[in-house]
């Protein structure tokens, strides 16, 4: 039965900003779905507040609303667009929750919007723990298999002690009922521990109730991805096995597809249970993900949970198998059945089958604990990783080693030189799951641990443990061999050893190993991901490398451009870069090139087999890229390699690629150096007569002190050669400078510390521009809302700039052009300026696509990354204007006065992390970037746009209620006007004594509240932290100063995060928020699609 004919339009809800646990995979899924629905002739209406996504590109949907994903705003969109249907299963938990809440509020009924892809009952059955337990119970009755973890509810210590026997003994999990964030839960291994934990739990629980649950820690963990159509056809797309056993969130585990250690009987049992669950839950059409734990001793199966929607795992499964789950889910939602949908890869066979793999896929998580030094790095059932890399190999060892080197982290690859350390100590370390535990395990093996000992410590399946031994044995052979002969090299490569690793073992340079390897003819071949293990011919060139015999890269005649992607998402290098790579691919394909994408991030649109003409799912190391270049050079003409768009990862390869004879197009490696190297860049600035803040470099405290003394405090200090502001700090005095130098491990004679004058009170400005060697196209000028000193990635900003005049723009344009010309840019450049007083300082220049390119592109309705890709290959700005890719006249610096204002706000991951005592981590912004994602608010007025950005990022700004203000001395003056405004809007003000005094002197009434350090008052007066926890505060303004203020405010800010109270940590943000509150209180805030904004802008430009 074909598509439903009664649907004309569909509203798709995206997942909003990238946060831990809900990342780029939903852009991938959502983009696929929107394209499919549009191709089916439906009017697609999309809401997503995240500008850094492909799905919010204006051509993906018919009406794209970059608006907050809250029931209020989505209702406005529904009222305006009147869609027939709503598809809520492609935007993660955000979309699902929003849809459910609108259903509950009766909004969907009111506007006659039908939920497709999942019904409310099914969503509830899948999501609600108790209901889901019932589902599992029902399934067990039907098919005799599957159960939930056994548990007993206890109300007294006697119940608890008796409960342990019911569960079959220790260890047990104690979960107090109705406590916040799982407070008071823990594992008890014996009666003493049980009495302690359960005793505390009974006290903590408002109902004096604890749930005692059998422990399944250390069991094998599996996931199945299933799809079901309206005719009840069900297929299992993929099985995934976790390398790390139960106890680690699957997003933080190394995972493997397909499952490696199940017999067919056991696998079919999981499949039977999975199918019975999807039926019982009632997912009518679409995908779901089910997680299982399997007892390694007897095969007992426990069903952990299910997600009745597209998930991170389904994105991984799609990339792992070539079966596009989101795309198919969208088609099923509009009425198709699986057998009516062709398999894209084979084109001849239908989607109603189960992919079979003749390779192994390994996914490894990427963490960012270095950004949150106080956070506990133990991996638990709360996800903490910020990204992931996937690798494909013809066997597990090859895939695993490729995945580890794809992580691009120092020490992520196995190392086989140096002392491994003490075996017992390493095994003890390996008990605790952490980022890099696998490396500790490898060192333990090197130190002489037996397979049994490794299993005992980690419960990693013995088959996986043996694979680690296999890798270690090959490393031993490499070390012991007289010379690198072809067979030994081939053996090492077949098990995933990189040239770097082999070089390390043999005491050779990487390039020497490569030379030897090439001379001996040991090179990889490229195999195809084809869904069917070669049973049918594949039409889609989705490749991975392997040291096998036969390559499947077909010859081609069109010139190819290789685009290097950005690798695993991490803080500082996220989805924004993928956006630019995808745009390059689209633009160059349109321009007649064959596009070849290289990336290893399974969450992205760039690694969709549909995006480019060819996809290489490979690590982005020099070795892997050189081999791809070689293979593609043999296949046909190669126009060049683009390194400018994927962020620092490919940029870092530019020089080495060029040295190896690879045609790097766009900005040359020499020009990149001119921008990245401080000395060379200083030269560029000097020649152009542009000022930079005073600075110097030092390798010792004495040196740093001398510089700081000369340029004056505060100074901005940072290690050289770091990304994302890692280790960067504003230092206000000599004492802290001394401790900073002492603490920093990254400083050495070859890696000096950079000391810059810190421009207090300066306005920071970001510029994105295109340069073709002749003409500059100013893409956009963004004015930061927070002052200089807060990492640009964490700062909110407005475009067009809200306080800069025509003269300022003129100066910015001239400076940008001088730098672009001086550096030698061909393509995109991003420059950060600081305006202090009347002087425009140049802070830094990045000769590549920046994080803000998607934001700028959407705010100005101009596809900058597409233009950059074209310029890289020789097009000029003038040609692109003539073609229509760029506006015929004017640019991002000459936006009409009535152009919409866009505000970008960063989204921080504070709530994800706790220190080892279980307390939250501090939320203060600084020069080190820590945000994981961003949202955009767009409107005709700054205040409204800012309010929307806040609603999109953190939840709506309050329009009335109680505001608490506590600011550092230097901020007290600038706080007065916004505070007065708050009062005018009817806010009641609370303040700490110092701030209250200043307010009163200025005629503003503020009640004094007690600081946390003062404790509760004699008459039971609550401290501010208590008030926040009790929900008595609606808005918090707390600015830290230096190190002292940080500690005072810590409890306030962590309480704000815990209770989700809006918390502003700069006075600039307060001023903006006041404008937002003003806008919210004056009249209705409307919604407008990007297409409408663009039409308006285009009309105004002509």
């Amino acid at each position: 039965m074909p598509k439903r004919s009664d649907i004309q339009s569909v509203l798709v809800i995206g997942s909003g900003p990238i946060v831990i646990g809900q990342a780029a995979e939903f852009d991938y899924s959502g983009t696929q779905a929107c394209r499919v629905l549009k191709a089916e002739g439906l009017r697609v209406i999309l809401v997503n507040s995240n500008p850094a996504t492909i799905m919010t590109d204006p051509e993906i949907a018919d009406a794209t609303y970059v608006e907050p994903i809250t029931p209020e705003f989505v209702e406005k969109i529904i009222a305006k667009e009147r869609p027939d249907t709503l598809l809520p299963t492609l935007g993660g938990q955000t979309a699902l929750n929003t849809a459910i809440s609108m259903h509950e509020q009766g909004v969907l009924e009111k506007y006659g919007v039908e939920l497709i892809g999942a019904n409310v009952e099914a969503i509830n059955k899948g999501e609600d723990r108790d209901l889901f337990k019932g589902v599992v119970e029902a399934v067990r009755e039907k098919i005799g298999h599957g159960e939930s973890a056994r548990s007993v509810i206890c109300h007294s210590m006697d119940d608890v002690i008796a409960g342990v026997d019911t569960l079959g003994g220790y260890p047990v999990v104690v979960r107090p009922s109705f406590t916040m964030g799982g407070a008071g839960s823990g594992f008890a291994h014996d009666e003493e521990e049980l009495r302690r934990i359960a005793g505390q739990g009974l006290t903590l629980s408002p109902t004096t109730e604890v749930l005692l649950e059998e422990s399944i820690l250390g069991w094998k963990e599996y996931e199945l991805e299933l799809m079901r159509d309206k005719h009840d056809n069900v297929v299992v797309v993929c099985s995934i096995e976790n390398f790390d056993p139960m106890g680690v969130h699957t997003g933080d585990s190394i995972t493997v597809a397909p499952s490696m250690t199940l017999t067919d009987r056991e696998y079919q049992r999981l499949r039977d249970i999975g199918i019975a669950i999807i039926r019982e839950v009632g997912v009518d059409t679409g995908g779901c993900n089910i997680q299982f734990a399997v007892n390694p001793d007897d095969g007992r199966i426990i069903v952990i949970e299910m997600n009745p929607r597209v998930s991170r795992s389904s994105a991984l499964a799609s990339k792992a198998t070539g079966f596009p789950i989101a795309k198919i889910a969208a088609k099923l939602a509009v009425g198709y059945t699986l057998d009516e949908i062709p398999n894209d890869i084979t084109e001849k066979t239908p989607a109603s089958f189960e992919p079979t793999l003749d390779y192994v896929v390994v996914k490894a998580p990427r963490f960012a604990f270095e950004k949150f030094p106080s956070a506990d790095s133990t991996l638990t059932t709360t996800m903490k990783s910020v990204g992931e890399a996937m690798a494909i190999g013809r066997n597990f060892t090859e895939a695993l080693q490729k995945a580890l080197r794809s992580l691009e982290r120092k020490g992520s690859q196995f190392t086989f030189v140096g002392e491994p350390g003490d075996k017992a100590e390493l095994l003890r370390e390996a008990v605790r799951p952490t980022d890099g535990r696998i490396n500790s395990v490898m060192q333990a093996i090197r130190a002489g641990a037996t397979p049994e000992e490794v299993f005992e410590s980690t419960k990693i399946d013995p088959w996986f443990v043996d694979q680690l031994f296999l890798i270690k044995e090959i490393a031993d052979e490499l070390a012991a061999a007289d010379k690198l002969d072809p067979s030994l090299l081939a053996l090492a490569k077949r098990h995933g050893f990189s040239d770097v690793q082999i070089g390390e073992i043999r005491g050779l340079r990487e390039d020497v190993v490569r030379e030897v390897r090439h001379a001996l003819g040991v090179r990889p071949v490229y195999k195809t991901v084809d869904t069917c293990a070669a049973e049918f011919a594949a039409k889609t060139p989705y490749f991975y490398s392997s040291y096998d015999e036969e390559s499947e890269v077909a010859p081609r005649t069109k010139p190819a451009v290789i685009i290097l992607g950005s690798g695993p998402n991490r803080i500082g290098q996220g989805i924004e870069f993928d956006y630019s790579c995808v745009h390059a691919s689209f633009a160059l394909s349109d321009a007649g090139y064959e596009t070849v994408m290289v990336n290893c991030n399974p969450e992205t649109v760039s690694t969709d087999y549909d995006t480019s003409d060819r996809l290489y799912f490979e690590p982005l190391t020099l070795e892997d890229v050189l081999e791809i270049v070689h293979a593609e050079s043999l296949a046909g003409p190669l126009a060049g390699v683009i390194v400018q768009l994927g962020g620092q990862t490919p940029l870092g390869l530019a020089q080495a690629l060029k040295d190896n004879g690879v045609p790097v197009v766009g900005t040359s490696p020499e020009a990149i150096h001119a921008a990245e190297d401080r000395g060379a860049f200083g030269q560029v600035l000097a020649e152009a007569g542009l000022p930079a803040p005073k600075h110097g470099t030092a390798t010792t405290f004495a040196g740093a002190k001398a510089i700081a003394d000369e340029i004056g405090y505060p100074v901005l200090v940072r290690p050289s050669y770091v990304l994302g502001g890692r280790g960067m700090e504003i230092v206000y005095d000599e004492t802290r400078l001394a401790s900073y130098i002492a603490e920093s491990t990254e400083i050495s004679p070859s890696r000096p510390v950079l000391v810059d004058r810190f421009l207090d009170d300066a306005i920071e400005i970001d510029v994105d521009a295109l340069y073709d060697g002749q003409e500059l196209y100013l893409g956009g000028v963004m004015e930061h809302i927070e002052e200089a000193g807060i990492h640009s990635g964490d700062s909110a900003c407005a475009l067009p700039p809200i306080t800069l005049g025509g003269f300022d723009i003129k100066r910015l344009r001239a400076s940008t052009e001088a730098i672009a010309k001086g550096v030698g840019v061909r393509g995109l450049i991003n420059i950060q300026f600081a305006m202090a007083g009347d002087i425009l300082y140049v802070l830094e220049a990045n000769p590549r696509a920046s994080r803000t390119v998607p934001f700028t592109s959407k705010a100005t309705a101009v596809p900058l990354a597409k233009a950059a890709a074209r310029i890289s290959l020789g097009a000029t700005v003038a040609e692109l204007r003539a073609e229509g890719l760029l506006p015929a006249n004017g640019d991002g610096g000459t936006l009409p006065l009535d152009a919409p204002i866009s505000v970008k706000e960063a989204v921080m991951p504070w709530s994800r992390f706790r220190d080892i005592h279980g307390r939250g981590v501090d939320t203060v912004l600084g020069p080190e970037m820590r945000s994981t994602g961003e949202v955009m608010g767009i409107d005709s007025m700054f205040g409204t746009a800012y309010a929307k950005s806040q609603a999109g990022a953190y939840g709506p700004l309050p329009t009335k209620g109680r505001a608490f203000i506590s600011v550092a001395n230097r901020d007290k003056r600038s706080m007065i006007f916004p505070a007065r405004e708050l009062v005018a809007h009817g806010f009641e003000l609370l303040a700490t004594s110092g701030t209250a005094e200043v307010l009163r002197r200025n005629g503003i009434n503020a009640a004094v509240v007690r600081k946390q350090s003062e404790g509760e008052g004699p008459n039971g007066e609550k401290t501010i932290v208590q008030l926040i926890h009790e929900g008595e505060v609606d808005l918090i303004v707390n600015t830290p100063y230096g190190t002292g203020g940080r500690l005072d405010g810590y409890d306030i800010r962590t309480a704000a995060v815990a209770r989700s109270v809006p918390c502003l940590t700069t006075v600039q943000a307060l001023a903006a928020a006041v404008q937002g509150i003003d806008a919210l209180n004056h009249g209705d805030v409307g919604v407008r699609s990007l297409q409408e904004h663009a039409e308006h802008l285009t009309a105004a430009r002509d």
Partner: protein, 385 residues
């Protein structure tokens, strides 16, 4: 290829060299796996990612050298519960990365040891994907595996491969079937008696029937119609099996008698081909067959798609677009493979008989088609009523 003599620091053991030679001359060099020696057969590939024990012991693989497309084989070792018959039947085994250490709570020994114990010659470490693609493009063909430290020269090996018998025209079912009749008792209350003609039956098939209260009398392939009716069956079953169905004149004759008496009849795989022939349809050899556990089959009566286990190199040539008239009344194609429109099931409209080309007993493979055993039960119930 990894053909080096290894360094001494290693605990790694390398097996002796091995060569796989196809009849069209293409060769692959790897390492011996399982027994060392020489073997010949028809090269076929199986795409299942699980279930190697079931595959190895499936009598339908008799005289075939099975190439596993899944690279890792042997991970869960060998247990005593999962085999589908009393021995390994494949003529040779081709894998890329055999497990060194089995890991599973039911495992008793390693697959490598099992292959050695049963004298099965295999090869490991070759580009199994390249080999699979070759077979897909050129079709299933004869193959030899030669392993050991003293291998003949290439020309000699190729000549030997070309002397091995072909699958087309091979009559093999008698070689794998039981010589003596035996009974698989019903589990729980006995409701029916079925005579199952063993042409290479898998252990799971009588088990699936027994689960439904059927007492299964498994009869040798040479069983006559008299033998069949001697057990007073409520239904008759014809099993899967190896070889060319065009050679199975005996079973075809028996089946015709069953049809003539309108005793409920069910056939699987070879049994489906025999029903095809009994009804007057032809059979033919597929280019490279269906072997895997992910094949989409549509039940044309309900429109539903089931994911199924396949192992067949031959197929029935029956029209998809119409009902056919046969000596036993009207017949139609009930099931079809959605990948290539191959006939996957037949049913008579006027008599209680049906068959499928694939494996509803599903060992290895998904259980989607288990309903066919219920359908057989319904036929027998219907006949009684």
């Amino acid at each position: 290829m990894t053909t080096s003599q290894q360094g001494n620091a290693s605990q790694r053991k390398e097996a002796p060299p091995a060569v796989l030679v196809l009849e069209d001359g293409r060769t692959f060099r790897g390492r011996a796996y399982g027994a060392v020696g020489v073997t010949f057969g028809e090269a076929v590939f199986s795409t299942g990612m699980t279930g190697y024990q079931e595959t190895l012991t499936d009598p339908s693989y008799h005289r075939q050298v099975v190439v596993m497309t899944a690279p890792h084989v042997g991970n869960t070792g060998v247990n005593d519960d999962d085999p589908e018959s009393g021995r390994i039947w494949v003529a040779g085994y081709v894998v890329r990365d055999p497990a060194r250490v089995p890991s599973n709570w039911r495992s008793r020994r390693s697959l490598d040891d099992e292959l050695v114990a049963q004298g099965v010659v295999g090869i490991s470490g070759i580009d199994t994907r390249a080999l699979t693609r070759h077979l897909r493009e050129r079709g299933a063909m004869r193959v030899g595996i030669f392993s050991g430290n003293a291998l003949p020269d290439d020309g000699t090996m190729l000549a030997e491969v070309r002397q091995a018998p072909e699958m087309k025209g091979a009559s093999l079912y008698e070689e794998v079937a039981t010589k003596e009749a035996y009974v698989v008792p019903a589990i729980g209350e006995k409701k029916f008696t079925v005579a199952a003609v063993d042409l290479g039956i898998k252990g799971m098939t009588p088990h699936r029937m027994a689960e439904r209260g059927i007492e299964v009398h498994v009869l040798p392939a040479t069983a006559t119609a008299e033998d069949v009716f001697a057990v007073a069956p409520d239904g008759v079953f014809f099993s899967n099996g190896p070889g060319d169905p065009a050679t199975a004149d005996g079973p075809v004759a028996v089946m015709r008698e069953v049809l003539a008496r309108s005793t409920p009849l069910f056939g699987i795989c070879f049994g489906n081909q025999i029903l095809g022939r009994a009804l007057g349809f032809g059979t033919y050899k597929l280019k490279y067959g269906h072997r895997g556990i992910n094949q989409p089959v549509q039940d044309r009566t309900t429109g539903k798609v089931e994911v199924t286990a396949h192992n067949h190199g031959f197929a029935v040539d029956a029209p998809l677009d119409r009902v056919s008239d046969t000596p036993y009344g009207r017949a139609e194609v009930s099931h079809v493979c959605l990948n290539d429109q191959v006939v996957e099931g037949l049913q008579l409209l006027d008599r209680p008989a049906f068959s499928v080309q694939y494996h509803p007993e599903a060992a290895a493979g998904p259980h989607d088609a288990a309903y066919l055993f219920d359908r057989f039960v319904s036929l027998m119930e219907g006949q009684r009523a």
